[in-house]
Symmetry: C2
């Protein structure tokens, strides 16, 4: 038996150009799991409006965060796969992206070529959402729908209450609290539409449990919980991170420690949206200290957690 471990994250355009971003967004935003509107309504909007306007704006943002080796999300996901491979030498560790390259299907084929007889799929989203984890399951299902040979398959749906994950978040926060004092800890998670929650998505509940369990490990300190990255019309989860941060200074909350437990690798939403855009909103409204805790990125402590999830699930 040769175990294959596939780490999966959302994806990234191949370069920070409007053309590459358009290609990436077209794939991402065509997924029914992501945008659940009737196709006849959504596809004209997507192709006629969204993909005409947004790629340029997004490419501009991607350009700001792009590094020599590529997009941060891609770099750190790759790095985590490499670190995990070192810790688990008898397995075949690979990474893939739900949208863009390397794709889930091509990576699974490649793992099979490499001798894999058992597949563990680990979506790199601590909290489950239909909009992120389910598309991965769909694609894994697609691979095996027409395959004659199916290996043992495991798909992890979430790790929002994994002991190691919670403890690592808590330890990181505690380190910051020892060095400096803050009026508030803000837990910011990627938002999703309220309609998705109403269809049965456990995402909001899992985010709340993560925040609560991390705070249990920290003890008595003011904290709050919000959602970022709203896209399109319709109601999304509230309170919104942006509004929360804008309002803080007027509530005499001027020193804030921000953490984004839903992201395990830096990306547009953390570097650009939180640490630039939202920092600016806060400071412009009278904030004094805005300290942002980076995702785990290439932390080897996180590699250990990944290994523990794989070994205990």
């Amino acid at each position: 038996m040769k175990k294959g471990i596939l780490l999966v994250n959302l994806g990234t355009p191949e370069s920070p150009t409007p053309e590459a971003v358009k290609k990436y967004l077209a794939e991402f935003l065509s997924d029914r799991r992501v945008i659940n509107w009737p196709r006849s309504l959504w596809l004209p909007i997507l192709h006629g409006i969204v993909l005409q306007v947004r790629p340029k704006k997004s490419a501009h943002a991607y350009k700001k965060i792009w590094r020599e080796e590529g997009s941060p999300l891609w770099i750190y996901t790759k790095k985590q796969a490499e670190l995990l491979q070192l810790r688990m030498p008898n397995t075949i560790v690979r990474f893939a992206m739900t949208y863009g390259r390397p794709g889930i299907q091509e990576t699974i084929y490649e793992m099979k070529q490499a001798g894999m007889t058992e597949l563990f799929v680990l979506p790199l989203y601590p909290q489950y959402s239909e909009t992120t984890v389910a598309p991965i399951c769909d694609q894994v299902g697609q691979v095996y729908k027409s395959a004659a040979e199916i290996p043992d398959i495991k798909i992890s749906s979430s790790f929002y209450d994994h002991e190691g994950y919670l403890q690592l978040l808590a330890n990181t926060i505690k380190r910051h609290l020892t060095e400096k004092s803050f009026d508030m800890i803000l837990f910011s998670y990627h938002g999703i539409p309220v309609s998705t929650i109403e269809r049965g998505d456990p995402y909001e509940e899992q985010c709340k449990i993560t925040t609560q369990k991390v705070m249990e490990r920290i003890g008595d300190h003011p904290y709050t919980h919000s959602y970022q990255s709203k896209f399109g019309p319709g109601q999304w989860l509230t309170p919104m991170t942006r509004e929360t941060l804008k309002a803080f200074p007027s509530q005499n909350i001027k020193k804030v420690l921000v953490i984004t437990p839903g992201f395990v690798a830096d990306c547009l939403e953390t570097i650009e949206e939180i640490n630039e855009e939202n920092r600016t909103y806060f400071m412009e409204n009278g904030g004094e200290v805005f300290e942002y805790i980076q995702p785990f990125n290439e932390s080897t402590e996180f590699t250990e957690i990944l290994q523990s999830i794989i070994e205990t699930k």
Copy 2:
């Protein structure tokens, strides 16, 4: 977390009548994983010929093996689920049939209602074949294709080389060898078309490994390996159990011990095909002793093995 364990076997008609058998066979034989021919060719044959002739014949056979509570396969699968539930009280153990009732999809919904947050699917086929295990994966995939919430999912593809399974087979054979002497041990597995093997099905290889590893645990004794239950035209795996048994007496093999390691519960193929039909072929051709080792059925040693598979996979 509440783990759900779903044992799955092939299925059985709801009663031993031609109508019930027709309904069951129509479902079973319409599956592309089972009969891989072009639909335009196969469906007219299925509905025009097979389902006109076979249900009557099959119902007759089912009548012979039917018990008060139902079909043996159904009875023993249910019993194993109950025994496993007793051993694993903190889980939700259920059983389902790929074809017929209770169905995989309805059972998974019911497990979700019962609070399941983690699903382990254990097909009750020790050896993987696209014709048996893959339809289960297809149906599990179907459940989650349109579901908002997806739990942790594990699907076991086979347990043909599981230590406990091999040892239990070997122990049972050894017990028979101590009591009586045989000229030959015959391992008979359900056959599949050669074309399925050519498409990449590892079934034949896994059957061979099971036989070999059981024999390693038994030591020096004549044995052979064959395939039963051929259906329809086309080349199937050989040698065929029927031909093997017919030829034995002329090769001076008159006392035979038969085991069917691919079946974990008694069914038409074991009770009627092996222990009646094939026994008759052997005896009519000059055989003297035909001893058949029943499948595990309601053995609690097998329950332990199921638990070990679940806990170690």
